[in-house]
Symmetry: D3
Subunit: 246 residues, 6 copies
């Protein structure tokens, strides 16, 4: 069973995580997964939302955007439309929730880390690439806080990455590109920790409902993909001089 | 293991689906699940969005809202804030997608069915109650189209219901009420068809990631709950003089 | 002279005020006037708008909404449109102003009571039903404040109700239903106190200007209707264990 | 009983209606009532809103605004706030409704007249001054349509003017200025035709409900004021070479 | 070379600056340049934006608007559209920046002066008329602060006026009216101080790029026009009893 | 006189224009000027705005944005704020106007070219870098139209580039970086054609007005810089296989 780009069913597209991509942010990467490219940055702000004031705990929140020509035909700029669409809000809520699941809010202390994920070029899997890249930017920003003595331990407690899986023409595939995704019967996004537990699981039948056996097959593929992505993240952090010491 | 309201782990709250709840819509119910109450209506509009013009296919779309005092403390009215929040957009996208998965768009022909789900009182599980109730309103509206000779067969092809499951204090529970949901470690919404296949699966770790074994345990609970909800839907439709004939 | 629904010119539609309609709010009713149904709630908030800070006085404010299918054809959701329309703003300003006219702001002390009126089903007279129902929800919320020792006397000083009157086909009618209202030559909303004084009077010629004699005839009808509505409110409060002791 | 500015209870402030105030619009006046100054313009547009297409009937609609420093302290610019407030929407709906009541929509044919009322300086009574001035601008624009042979008869069928009345310190007064209005117990706006019939009546108790006797006293005052305003309108039109020929 | 209105190339249209035009603002003028009429007001507010708190310095900011029928065909009201257009934002940023360049922020102390420029009638050159008129309103408001002992010296340090120049049909003209502006090949707005220095220079080729020689020719014309406008401003202030004492 | 980064007064920062930067758009570059990086894309749309329908002429329009962490401290995302700021609108109007000045609208025929300029990293001069880069993307998109036979001649008629100049500490400098710009007394943006004529000139005194001699000095510097930028653009197009044949 060969896919349109020659990959096997369980094969990721080429992944590259380029650290220190921008000069200003406390953490930044360009993550490339096949033709999908996302700039992920982490910004430290020394205050927290009102509901956390006085709690001693920090916060991680995310925003997501796409350049108008990240896509095959031009997408209207959300700033010009005057609001973020439902898809954007859904994705940025997912990114924030996923990252918070591996952060020790007390270790972070009363500060916020803003994650910005901006898709420069889209070819499927932008939200999972954003989570995988944002993890590195977040870790880097936290490492700077630790180096500066502003936190006492690394607030990021465990590895975390995300990947998409799906069912196309009856076959289960890892890491769908856009042409696969647009004709998939099932599309599932999986966020998993280094210890193999699930943080988010979002499966959607596009047309044909799926069985539990299929779901399990997709989770097996996702687990393989995430194992590889975690290695890429580690390598990218090491290249920045930040060894992960779990 | 007894829950705060005395239920067992695999027990739904009392469910009631009251048909023909409003006089104007083509389909309408009030669904009550424990203290959660949602008015679901279906409106037939004789046109389709631009991307379906000339396709011969219909469309189902959904909107979701909550009265300001559906909740324990007052929630600001979205119409007054000037925009729908991310949570609202996410829920209404989910409702529309779930219902479309069991609708034969060609059988519906070029018309739109608008689903409106308005939460009158909230005590957890509003999005799953909305899907379960909306299914009945949708089916009723389509039955009217069929009776009027506007469609040739019932466009709704299969039964569909939704329920929440979760992990609270290390225990897996079916159908979380608000007090359980607010302290759950994992929260999962499951949309399933009458044939037992999955349409949507959205699991979120609130704090502690979950294992695949836990995921499977939650899916088992959800399957039980959905079986019972499908019976309630059938009974409600029968009470409206609409037998489901799959 | 018999009306479309068999009523006489000076006859109200059947009125029902169901107290404690929702579990969360400090005051809540479902008011039914013919086919018109409005959920009215009162929420106590322990702060006041900036212009009252330090004044020792409280505030009563109102918001109004309609479910999309409260009406014969679907009305676009104001939250989705991104703003409340002129009609909505006008009605909620009216409700707030009318209720404030019978509230002793100093007795309420520095707190706000939010009134929410949501029309579940519309068949004419929604704004007057909203005022009549909201009065009961407000009184109930204030009675709770009194029982809790948070105010020293009931801040609601006098009975208040509202009704519509109009001229249809040359005849003056009390309490117009939608089909009458949509062909009325004159439409007048009257808000009156238990002592028979006027709080708001809004008369509009839809097409043909009206004489002062007609205006007086309409006010006579309104006075009769309001007398009956005040009795219904008293009965509803008594059923909640709250006798009105003016 | 002498008022703060020396007027008697039934005395209008000095009124001046200056025609052809702006060079571009089809009709325009500056109306001055005491210190209140409103620019009123009428614009002819050769199309109608969708609900009138093909009906053969025209439409009159109004918009209202205030310069930020029309008032004693600066009011935030609505264009900068991003929306028109409830008061603005309420007033412009009133102006449009009032003017439509004296226009023969069929005589106007399928075209829209836009009325713009912009308050340059405010000292109470801006909405009634706007209606009184807008009537002249509307009449002028229609006279031009008639002169150009675009309509067959003057679509404005009858004279129309508006004035405020109120109760201040227990006394009934005609034409309240701002300092009177801000301490009035009752505030009533009256729109009346040349034949003495009512088009709009909006009475509001600011604090103390009012009796029907007081309402009648206020209507008597309003009738006197409107008689005088109708004379001023006629004179202003005559000065533009447009005799009113009822 | 005679222009459409008979002016010579270097001739301004008739200018009139009428002080104390409105009763409420601390400074106000109506400036008339040919058919262009702009109401300019200055409002003193005893606070500064957050970024200046504690700095001891004041702020000058401007807003700009146009009545819908200031123009030949009706322009949609920005308050009704729900946002200010790009042209409006650009102009009001220019006005604020220009005025701040001659204000000693420390002399003003921690207060804001709001400038509002509202175009009543437009015939080209509204932004430059707004700056020229706003200067007088600002000076007047500051003179009141000085007279009241709230500032120790006049914060406005130097004269400032603005004019447009352009190239029409190959000729360089001062102070374009609308019909000239709409067919100009180059349009340039110049803001200059009494000492002949430049504060803002915005030249735009509408179609045909311009040479440096042409730019210099336009600047020469602008300098002549501004010299005359500065005289008009001085005369207007003197008529208000405010001699400029540079 | 040495600048903070060692450049001479008339020296540009290192410039790099990387063509075909994104896979989807018809034209795209990444332009780097010092640390400033802007992605510029050109999208061809086969329709024109309403005011050009039937004219036979095309349109060029531009939008501009910045990633939140393009800047030293995080800028709020305009899509999240719900509107584009005045600065953004001003810049995108400038970019569109500048490019249109060298495009033969008739040669382009009835189609629109959308220019999107997104700042990835900002260090001063983003608007001039955007214009310079957008020119190349536009030229490339037009070259594709020509190659495809959709236009008969290259619609871009002449070279165009932009640069900033300013006065810092009394010295005139070419191509200000952010640290220079933020302390500049004068900031001027110059858009010029290959033939040395001016298309846009926007000079602003930040604090101290400037003389005509200084303006001329700045224009001399700008002319030098633009000559070099035009060479870079030509080289970038040649590398894409598109020789400029003026």
């Amino acid at each position: 069973m060969v896919r349109s780009d020659g990959r096997s069913a369980a094969q990721l597209r080429p992944v590259r995580i380029e650290g220190n991509y921008l000069m200003h942010p406390e953490g930044s990467v360009l993550i490339t997964v096949g033709h999908t490219k996302v700039i992920c940055t982490a910004t430290v702000e020394e205050k927290v939302p009102p509901f956390l004031k006085g709690s001693g705990k920090g916060w991680v929140t995310a925003e997501y955007g796409m350049l108008p020509r990240a896509t095959g035909s031009r997408t209207q700029r959300e700033a010009a439309r005057g609001k973020q669409g439902g898809r954007t809000l859904e994705i940025q809520r997912l990114i924030g929730r996923a990252l918070r699941s591996v952060v020790d809010a007390a270790a972070l202390k009363e500060r916020t880390i803003w994650i910005d994920c901006d898709v420069i070029q889209a070819d499927g899997g932008t939200r999972t690439a954003a989570i995988t890249g944002a993890y590195v930017a977040l870790y880097q920003a936290c490492a700077k806080l630790l180096a500066a003595g502003l936190v006492e331990r690394q607030p990021v407690q465990e590895g975390l990455a995300a990947v998409s899986v799906g069912k196309v023409d009856g076959e289960l595939y890892l890491d769908l590109c856009y042409s696969e995704d647009s004709q998939a019967e099932v599309d599932m996004n999986v966020v998993m920790t280094a210890s193999g537990n699930l943080v988010e699981l979002q499966g959607t039948a596009e047309g044909v409902p799926f069985s539990r056996a299929e779901m399990n097959g997709m989770l097996d593929l996702a687990t393989e993909g995430i194992t590889q992505l975690l290695r890429e993240q580690k390598a990218a952090l090491l290249a920045l001089g930040i060894p992960i010491t779990e």
